[in-house]
Symmetry: C2
């Protein structure tokens, strides 16, 4: 089975699970009897659905912008009031109910540019090259559409990692681009390897025109953080092969691994100097939904374009314009993400406390769940450096594999379906591809589960409790 | 010049104006000297940008949902608090920061279904057939994509009126459907005429496959409201020609013409009985942006599908899912639009007062601006029955026409560009097509301006003052 076929399979396995989860959820609301009382979905990065509280300052600013009458009393802190006034000054008609420019509110573009510049040690960022979108996927779609439109007679190929973020295959399908898979090496901590990039692009050249490479760094779902050297390697590879660099950096604020550090592709590109720094085309995306903010329901993100032609940017604007302008509420939350309270502001202490507590919860939960999986037979979970997922490896025993084959189902999917049916826990699932599988294990025996672990610690314990009970039953019945 | 070419021209004329308006706006922020102090854009239906205040209850509910701590004091009225609690109960994790189902929050779907049912005199509405989208254009795009995908080898044709809502040509272009224009008759108050529908579909049959008819009722931009009989005519026409009825009913809450009444296509379809009522496929769209709510920045609308196959609805869901889920803030505002405060509720009086005052302002402004245009030489503005636009007819004198031709520009565009440059007022503009032009006037002499007039009365006076000054200067210089 080719890598591509397996991935199609994985994607549809995930969809099957999601559909089953939705059915269970509906049946629970209809009071249908189940072995569990509630459905817990840890397959996506939707942290507020599993109980994480929003950051107070974000919500206070939004409440003030929506209901400026709140500024007439001292219900909201002083710095919230000032921020609300500032933001409303930059809304048409002084209201969040008016439309904004298709590429986003100019004020928010400037805030984001300042944030990027500060993050990258003072490297300049042009607000006109920042596009506010309703989420990172939307930004990625716009770039891929631009590339597909500018292609010749060959189909546009886009290099994507394996494993990859679970929503990505759909985006590629929708824009009509061909995914060209490059495998990340689990044995090397999921790093990107130069030889594998070369293999993947060579293998594709007779049937499509490779035009872009998609990178997820910090990586979803593996949690790997690229080193500066690794980023340089990828940039050189992109330059050699004339590829557009599409970099998903939505987990840039959730790097916690000892010795790991987030460095942006943009910064490394600038450091490399010409010809790289002034020729390699780059789009970097970030969002409000992912990582530490976790405001999925507000729908906002941004992308910054580097070394991209002005005319192409006009097309990007037209694509965004033709579609849906980002909700102003989301843009306001993005402004707060990019420009949080500072020392001396009334809200600073609470904001700092909430963010530190959140990062601390994340670290503890990653540690706790990594240890948990390493204590379960057949599971192996290496340490994670970043992100909000863990990605444990599950190697089915010959007995389990034979059993699943007897039922005519894929072992990993069968495991997760039963976990969902019996315990009400929905996890993500991917079949392993790459060296480890082909050399050491029978086909179909190696899988990964994907679990978002950024949730209140007691909620995590509940999930682990279900997993433990299920896995023990699973093993005992073989 | 064919109707289609002219429309393309109109659409790009609008775009040119919009771009110029944006440039002026930017230059004003850069303190560049202009003959005007601010730019007033009345070309779109963005009523909050020109100073209309939002409805208090909507904003209070949103503030409470975003910042539930506000419920700890009595800052918000009691019924707002109850609504907030109810809505948050139906958000995953009790937070508006979590994702919702791709077709919308089930709770909001139910609220909308109840609203539709009450509007249509008790006719049933199935929540599963309601799709919450980020605006009416998004809903229309989804339907058109579905139709285009299900087409055969011929290109999908979609019948659209002339004049038509200014954003529609782009949507058709994006989904790759061919617009088949049917002209509305200005002399008959912009009604839809059976003979014209037949002419338009016959003319198209050799080069495309007509699959849908788009209707705007109450009509944007003409303000015409269809009678029950006229709706029946269109339904019969759709049935005869096996067309999907795509009905844009976003101005259903802003009908004010004496003797005019909004009746939904769905209701008339049901009244007609079989075979119409159980075969004609219908999508009706409504939104938070248009009409009386005017919450453009919150991005939400809905569509209801009638007589549409379950399998097609699954596709619709997949299309919505693949794209962007509607922001939860917008969905909450939609819930309030569909289920406003009732008599006895603490917020009822204020809500009623605000809505009545808004409708009253609209009626007065329509009356005032209609009289105004009828008092200007070369303008003619028939009474309007609904909507938030007026659509005055401007017939250029031979002298003006000769002057414009000498400059090599279209007279209407030239007029509007000068209005923008000299007074800072941006209006919509359409070249007339149809009988009136071909029979009585030289080509290029008849145009319509499109102005949104739902704004505070003093803001309207300011606009009219600019228009008056400009038009007098314009005439005097010929």
């Amino acid at each position: 089975m080719s890598v591509m076929m397996r991935l199609t399979l994985n994607s549809s396995a995930e969809e099957q699970l999601q559909k089953q989860a939705e059915t269970h959820r509906l049946q629970l609301t209809q009071k249908m009897s189940k072995p569990f009382k509630k459905l817990i979905d840890v397959s996506s990065g939707d942290i507020q659905s599993t109980g994480m509280k929003p950051i107070t300052f974000v919500r206070q600013v939004l409440a003030g912008c929506l209901c400026p009458d709140l500024l007439l009393s001292d219900t909201l802190p002083h710095d919230v009031q000032l921020r609300v006034q500032k933001l409303l000054e930059h809304c048409d008609g002084g209201s969040v109910g008016a439309y904004a420019e298709s590429s986003g509110m100019a004020y928010v573009q400037r805030t984001v540019a300042k944030y990027i510049s500060a993050r990258d040690g003072g490297l300049s960022s042009n607000p006109a090259h920042i596009f506010i979108t309703s989420g990172s996927l939307r930004a990625i779609t716009v770039v891929l559409k631009l590339l597909a439109q500018s292609g010749g007679s060959f189909q546009t190929g886009v290099m994507v990692p394996v494993p990859l973020p679970n929503a990505l295959p759909h985006v590629l399908e929708r824009v009509g681009s061909l995914p060209l898979f490059y495998c990340l090496r689990e044995e090397a901590g999921w790093s990107i390897e130069r030889e594998e990039l070369h293999r993947a692009i060579q293998a594709s050249k007779d049937h499509c025109c490779p035009r872009a490479i998609y990178i997820s760094n910090p990586s979803n779902p593996t949690g790997h953080v690229q080193s500066r050297e690794s980023i340089k390697d990828v940039i050189r590879f992109a330059a050699q092969n004339n590829l557009f660099l599409l970099v998903d950096e939505v987990y840039q604020d959730t790097v916690f691994g000892l010795g790991s550090e987030f460095v942006s592709y943009k910064k490394v590109l600038a450091e490399m100097g010409p010809p790289y720094s002034n020729t390699v085309q780059l789009a970097s995306v970030h969002s409000l939904s992912n990582g530490i903010m976790g405001e999925c329901g507000l729908r906002a993100g941004y992308m910054e374009l580097v070394n991209v032609d002005e005319s192409v940017m006009l097309f990007a604007e037209a694509l965004l314009c033709g579609d849906i302008s980002t909700p102003i509420t989301g843009q306001i939350a993005l402004d707060v993400m990019a420009d949080p309270p500072r020392p001396g502001n009334q809200s600073y202490f609470l904001y700092k406390q909430e963010m530190e507590s959140r990062l601390n919860t994340l670290k503890c939960n990653v540690h706790r769940s990594t240890e948990f999986f390493n204590s379960l037979p057949d599971f192996h979970c290496p340490p994670v450096q970043s992100g909000i997922f863990i990605y444990p490896h599950l190697k089915f025993s010959p007995a389990a594999l034979t059993y699943a084959q007897g039922l005519g189902v894929e072992a990993g999917l069968w495991y997760c379906e039963r976990l969902l049916q019996e315990e009400g826990v929905c996890v993500g699932v991917n079949r392993c591809v790459g060296e480890a599988v082909t050399h050491n294990s029978p086909p179909g025996s190696c899988w990964h589960l994907r679990l978002c672990v950024l949730m209140p610690p007691d909620a995590l314990e509940e999930v682990l409790c279900h997993l433990q009970a299920f896995h023990c039953r699973f093993l005992s019945k073989l």
